[in-house]
């Protein structure tokens, strides 16, 4: 009996060590319909399913390896997991299959560890590349995934940077975004010409980046400040920043970030573990987001961006809300698009002008007389304006709670 008790206590203590290790996540990655990949500080890669169930996929067993980042990607017909890190003072990236079988090892130049994978779907040569950011050289390099021994190619050198860290590839714009941990800046690199520019500042210590499902909003995890900052695109040039309103002190040491399903974010805190947060700042365990917040609702649509040079068009909200106005002779039709995932032009709900008016209160409707029939109208939504929004779930009376107008664009927050 004593032996059995001893063995049981040993097993329990070993299990305790394992879960303790899993509590130190260093990076996360997620793609639609896939598991959440979690990299621990001990080099363990775990998968977390939709329901929050966790399973160990593999352990990066390279001797003396200190993991930094993880990226999952589909190349051809196979899913792969890439893990970057350091061995001593050398940068290394390992490639594994999604079942944890080692495939290749890449030497990363100049201690580069922040990285992302370009599957080649946008490039004419269809070459799969890894973009890596070096905190030492403050340069971004491209590694050929098909040929690990090939010398890295320099993409851009950012001389004004202090110490580059996280990097993410925007497939739609064919651009890279790189965070600078040293001065809290975010740089954008155009892959077609290598030109770079600063797109956001005052980001604290950017330690991880994530792009929303539609690639229009960039999220930045500020490790020092324990906050998630949204960097929202307006057109192709301007960007605005806002912080997701999480509870103060909720995070101790942010280490990883990934865009999750249904407008949520997966978040890794080195001290506290893995969380899934919604755009209203509520914090949940992975897969435990309440049902009512899993579906897009109109509870509060923040950072609705309106391009004032074009007809009323609010696009790319956190909840996937699109609002679009068009005037046809004497009749105003409001189109409301529910899901960004479904794309522009689908799931249209039309609201007649009369019906819209019944919900409209104190809304300034300015019609440009110079416009001809079938042309667009411009709505100026001010703070405290009440509007009607229709989605698949029904029509809601909503209020404009934030309204910031600039020369060419406006930023709105609309709450139910």
């Amino acid at each position: 009996m004593k032996c059995i008790a001893f063995l049981l206590s040993m097993l329990i203590s070993l299990a305790g060590v394992g879960s303790e290790t899993a509590r130190h996540p260093i990076a996360v990655d997620y793609h639609l319909d896939g598991p959440l990949f979690v990299l621990s500080s001990e080099g363990e890669v775990s998968q977390i399913g939709d329901t929050g169930s966790e399973s160990l996929l593999m352990t990066t067993e390279a001797y003396g390896f200190r993991p930094v980042d993880i990226v999952s990607a589909r190349l051809g017909e196979q899913n792969y997991v890439f893990v970057s890190g350091f061995i001593g003072r050398e940068g290394i990236i390992f490639q594994y299959t999604s079942s944890g079988v080692f495939v290749a090892r890449f030497s990363s130049p100049q201690l580069a560890a922040g990285f992302d994978v370009d599957t080649g779907s946008q490039s004419p040569l269809h070459e799969s590349l890894m973009y890596v950011a070096s905190p030492v050289a403050n340069a971004v390099f491209a590694l050929d995934i098909a040929n690990p021994s090939k010398s890295p190619r320099t993409i851009a050198s950012i001389k004004e940077a202090v110490s580059l860290g996280p990097l993410i590839f925007d497939r739609q714009l064919n651009k890279l975004f790189v965070g600078d941990q040293g001065n809290g800046k975010l740089y954008e690199i155009n892959l077609s010409d290598g030109h770079h520019s600063t797109v956001a500042t005052d980001l604290g210590t950017p330690v991880a980046l994530a792009l929303s499902e539609d690639d229009a909003t960039l999220y930045v995890a500020d490790s020092a400040g324990g906050r998630i900052i949204k960097v929202a695109a307006v057109g192709h040039e301007r960007r605005t920043t806002r912080t997701i309103p999480t509870t103060k002190g909720a995070f101790v040491r942010l280490s990883g970030l990934a865009a999750g399903p249904r407008g949520t974010l997966y978040l890794a805190d080195f001290q506290k573990g893995i969380f899934q947060i919604t755009m209203d700042g509520s914090i949940h365990a992975p897969g435990q987001v309440p049902a009512q917040t899993k579906q897009p609702t109109l509870a509060c649509a923040t950072d609705l961006r309106v391009d004032l040079r074009r007809p009323l068009k609010i696009e790319n909200s956190d909840i996937g809300l699109y609002l679009y106005g068009i005037s046809t002779s004497d009749k105003l039709t409001i189109y409301v698009f529910r899901s960004s995932k479904l794309g522009w032009g689908t799931n249209v709900t039309k609201v007649s002008r009369d019906r819209f008016k019944t919900f409209l209160a104190d809304l300034t409707l300015a019609k440009d007389n110079s416009l001809e029939e079938d042309s667009y109208v411009r709505l100026t939504l001010k703070k405290q304006d009440l509007i009607a929004l229709t989605t698949e779930s029904g029509t809601f009376r909503a209020k404009v709670t934030e309204s910031h107008y600039f020369k060419d664009y406006a930023v709105l927050q609309i709450c139910k």
Binding site: R66, I87, R89, L111, G114, P135, V136, G165, Q181, A224
Partner: protein
């Protein structure tokens, strides 16, 4: 609410070290383990700064260190606490050490300053430990394998280093060893080497007896190497230093067991005796051969013991211009063969030149 400029630490600028501190503070509760922290009171006794060096961590991308301080406002009627996280950027190829820094606390009208000793780590690529074997080449005993004895020396004068109990071993000839790859250093547990000190520890690697014994045939010189190991040792300086890898090449010389040396001596002696008896006109019957073999074995044993003694006393043991190691299989076999076979055999084999007198005697002139 973040408190800007609540705590400031002066930049470190010495001949070899530059370090800057980017600090953010926010109101917090009293830390749980405050009693275990270092406490420094400002000169005007307005504030106390608490710091646990064990909480220093390297930032995610390996370029900054994160230090956590707790600031206690001693002025307020009800004690107030602030947690401050400093992002520390160090430059210079220095060895990790403790440095006294000046800090300043500004809270409203209350301004005070003090001094605090902080561990400062380097991110430069350099080694903080030296690892060598006691003997060069290191002797791997085949009779009672106890691993290879290595000494780990801490080059830091002020900080301990923590060495991983597992090392990565690769070999030129993996078939000589029962297992290479991840091997234990000592008991396989992480161990500490105090500042400036040296620690002797066993690298737990065990040779396969027969392949290793056969490998000794390739080198008979007393200082020749039979094998080369490349050992990667992972370590870090205490209090959050970045992980470093030291690559240690180790030359190895296998030392056969006493039993195998006895076998070599018997075999060499037997072969030498037989060879002597098979020379032209040398056969004198079985009884004589057995007597000669017994005598030869005794003389071989004496010669081997004499050789061992000489070499142990620092002399060289040379037979026919060959510098031999009497602890190796082939030289022992050779000693047995030469002593038992005698000069006739050597002459027959062409190892020695015939003197003019011998030639004359043979020719009968």
């Amino acid at each position: 609410m973040a408190q800007d400029k609540l705590l400031e630490i002066d930049e470190i600028k010495t001949a070899d070290v530059t370090a800057s501190f980017d600090i953010q503070c926010s109101a917090s509760q009293s830390p749980d383990a405050v009693g275990q922290m270092r406490r420094v009171t400002t000169k005007g006794r307005k504030f106390a700064l608490h710091f646990d060096p064990r909480t220093i961590v390297l930032g995610k991308f390996g370029q900054f260190f994160l230090y956590t301080f707790f600031l206690e406002d001693l002025q307020a009627g009800q004690k107030r606490w602030y947690q401050c996280t400093a992002q520390v950027s160090s430059r210079g190829a220095f060895l990790d050490r403790n440095i006294v820094v000046l800090f300043r606390v500004s809270h409203g009208a209350n301004v005070d300053e003090g001094e605090l000793e902080l561990p400062v780590h380097s991110i430069a690529k350099q080694d903080f430990i030296g690892v060598v074997t006691r003997d060069i080449p290191a002797k791997a005993n085949l009779s009672s394998p106890s691993g290879l004895e290595v000494t780990v020396h801490n080059l830091l004068s002020e900080m301990d280093v923590v060495v991983d109990g597992k090392v990565q071993v690769s070999s030129d000839h993996p078939n000589y060893w029962k297992a290479v790859g991840l091997c234990d250093l000592g008991d396989g547990k992480q161990f500490r080497v105090r500042a400036g000190e040296t620690r002797v520890i066993q690298l737990q690697i065990e040779p396969k007896k027969l392949p290793a014994l056969l490998s000794t045939l390739t080198s008979v010189k007393p200082d020749g190497q039979h094998e080369r190991l490349n050992v990667e040792v992972s370590y870090a300086s205490d209090f959050g230093g970045p992980n470093r890898i030291l690559l240690v090449p180790i030359q190895v010389r296998f030392v056969p067991s006493l039993a195998s040396l006895v076998v070599a001596l018997f075999a060499g002696s037997f072969l030498g005796t037989i060879a002597g008896q098979l020379l032209p006109n040398a056969w004198q019957g079985t009884k004589t051969v057995l007597k000669t073999a017994a005598k030869a074995l005794v003389f071989s044993l004496v010669a081997e013991l004499f050789a061992m003694l000489l070499v142990a006393l620092g002399s060289r043991f040379v037979i026919i211009q060959f510098d031999l190691d009497p602890w190796q299989f082939l030289p022992v076999f050779f000693i047995g063969f030469v002593v038992s076979g005698g000069k006739e055999v050597l002459k027959y084999l062409g190892f020695t030149k015939q003197s003019t007198e011998d030639k004359r005697l043979e020719e009968g002139t």
